[in-house]
Amino acid sequence: MPTIVVQRPKLAWHEKIFLSGFLNGMRITLGHAIRTFKTLRGSKTVVTMQYPEQKWDESLPEHYRGAPTLVTDEHGRERCVSCQLCEFICPPKAIKIIPGEIPSDDPWAKVEKRPREFEIDMIRCIYCGMCEEVCPEQAIFLRKDYAITGTSRAEMVHDKEKLYEIGGVRTGLVNKWNDLK
């Protein structure tokens, strides 16, 4: 087996007692300190984002998984048909749905069902996006809201009204319940 003899580098005396290494290190840290201190004095930090004043909302990616919400389509119809698939798939069991019937005089009576109550407990939600993935009606979407706060547990439960408020109208989806043209 061929062997390679690694030549150890010849060190000068100041390298042997770590003097030059020490001084070099001190120079580097001082350089960083002075540079960062200058940017701090100008109160413009280069790397750190000063969170409440500066926000990253503009640079959020399209696929960002924020708060789950319900959406309506361009006809103002709530897309959820309360099939409860999201409720069953939700890993932390954050979703609670009470289905309701659509009355027969409604223009969308053929859809038959819509949620009477739809609650997502944002304390339980883990923002996994499984509800969005499993929804056969493209009714639930994860939006870019990430700062969900409240002063009580009850406040952290998003009811149906709140969910539609955050979700808003979403266009360009498959509209399988529309009349045939």
Binding site: F22, H32, A33, F37, L40, V47, T48, Q50
Partner: protein, 399 residues
């Protein structure tokens, strides 16, 4: 009873009490709090971070436009917030500890560190004749003639706190930390003590206040540029002084358990070392003791090598400006006394910034390297340095 009462020097007692309260509660403890803050901010800027910048003096609540900032950086009340947090934390005592020693250990770390402050000359003298008080007050709590010896004697008691904490916690990581601390602190005390002997030989004096006064008149040991300092012998003596300063300052790092010698509490190996099982104010006491030891150690380094409270080029400045910047026994104006106090603490702040700077630059030593450095290098170097100084003092005697 009467005779006992009469034997008390009441003005001296009152003056000492005022000095103790001033030094410990108004200077050292706030300084400890703010050196923790300095540690966090300096480490932050060294690592290109921001650090705690939010906890400001809330002047905006009182209708002002902006919170108070120094150099444009906020967060000046962070130490108060830290202190409040320490008080409000749960003081948890594990069931397996040896309660008596567990409670004793934090006090034994804190008390020696503060006791050594007694002989620290933090200023020349304060002339209070304008307030109707006669003789000027010496700015040192106890003007002992064995200053450095007293400091070493007391500060070496600090190791008991750490060892007891490690032992009483009844847990493996604190135990290892305590064992390491005792070995390290005892080893480095030797080189620490030997390294200041050349300085003492040059001063011919063991009174820290008189050392400062000598350096004020004749140039600092490491900056002999005025008075008798401009002699050949002082220049030649710079060689052993630089050696002893290097040995002293590195031993001081080991003695105060600072990086690169922070083996007793290295986070990566021992969780938090000897204070792993401590929480709340007991942990805060360890913290305080550690930083207080750092401040006192810096104070000793400053007094021995950087002229203590003396203003650099004091006699020259006095000649040029007509004001008095140097110390003159019994004839130092009030403003100079204040300036001297300020100078002393400014030098200590500089030392602490250096401590922090080194901490965030160097990696930690291995334990065998630490012991080797202490016993095989510094001990010999410091010992030989004593003989070298004696030789030089004999060849080129001081005036």
């Amino acid at each position: 009873m009467q005779s006992i009462l009469a034997s008390f020097d009441l003005p001296l007692l009152i003056a000492s009490l005022i000095k103790i309260v001033f030094l410990v509660f108004l200077v050292i403890l706030p300084m400890v709090a703010y050196s923790v803050y300095a540690e966090r901010r300096v480490s932050a800027i060294i690592q290109d971070r921001v650090g705690p910048n939010r906890t400001g003096i809330p002047l905006t609540l009182l209708g002002f436009k902006k919170d108070i900032q120094i150099f444009g950086i906020g967060g000046l009340l962070q130490p108060m917030a830290d202190g409040l947090k320490f008080i409000l934390k749960e003081d948890f005592t594990p069931r397996s500890v040896n309660t008596f020693y567990y409670w004793l250990a934090p006090c034994l770390t804190m008390v020696p560190a503060l006791m050594t402050a007694a002989v620290m000359p933090f200023g020349s003298e304060l002339d209070l004749s304008w307030a109707g008080l006669g003789a000027p007050f010496k700015m040192v709590i106890a003007d002992l003639n064995v200053g450095p010896l007293y400091m070493f004697a007391i500060s070496s008691l600090g190791v008991y706190g750490i060892v007891l904490a490690g032992w009483a916690s009844n847990s493996k990581y604190p135990f290892l930390g305590g064992v390491r601390a005792s070995a390290q602190m005892i080893s480095y005390e030797i080189s620490l003590g030997l390294s200041i002997i050349p300085a003492i030989m040059i001063f011919g004096e063991l009174n820290l206040g008189k050392m400062s006064a000598y350096q004020d008149a004749n140039g600092w040991l490491l900056l002999p540029l005025w008075g008798d300092g401009l002699s050949w012998s002082r220049l030649v003596l710079l060689v052993p002084i630089v050696i002893s300063f290097v040995v002293f300052s590195i031993s001081l790092f080991a003695e105060t358990n600072r990086t690169p010698f922070d083996l007793p509490e290295c986070e990566t190996e021992l969780v938090a070392g000897y204070h792993t099982e401590y929480s709340s104010m007991k942990f805060a006491l360890f913290f305080l003791g550690e930083y207080a030891a750092m401040i006192i150690g810096s104070g000793l380094a400053v007094t021995l090598f950087f002229g203590g409270w003396s203003i650099p080029f004091g006699p020259w400045l006095s000649e040029w400006t007509g004001l008095q910047f140097h110390y003159e026994a019994g004839n130092t104006p009030f403003y100079t006394g204040l300036l001297h106090i300020g100078t002393f603490f400014a030098k200590i702040v500089g030392c602490i910034i250096f401590f922090v700077w080194v901490r965030w630059t160097l990696p930690r030593f291995r334990f065998d390297q630490l012991m080797k450095l202490g016993w095989l290098v510094f001990f010999e170097v410091a010992l030989l340095n004593v003989f070298l100084t004696a030789l030089l003092l004999w060849l080129v005697p001081l005036k």
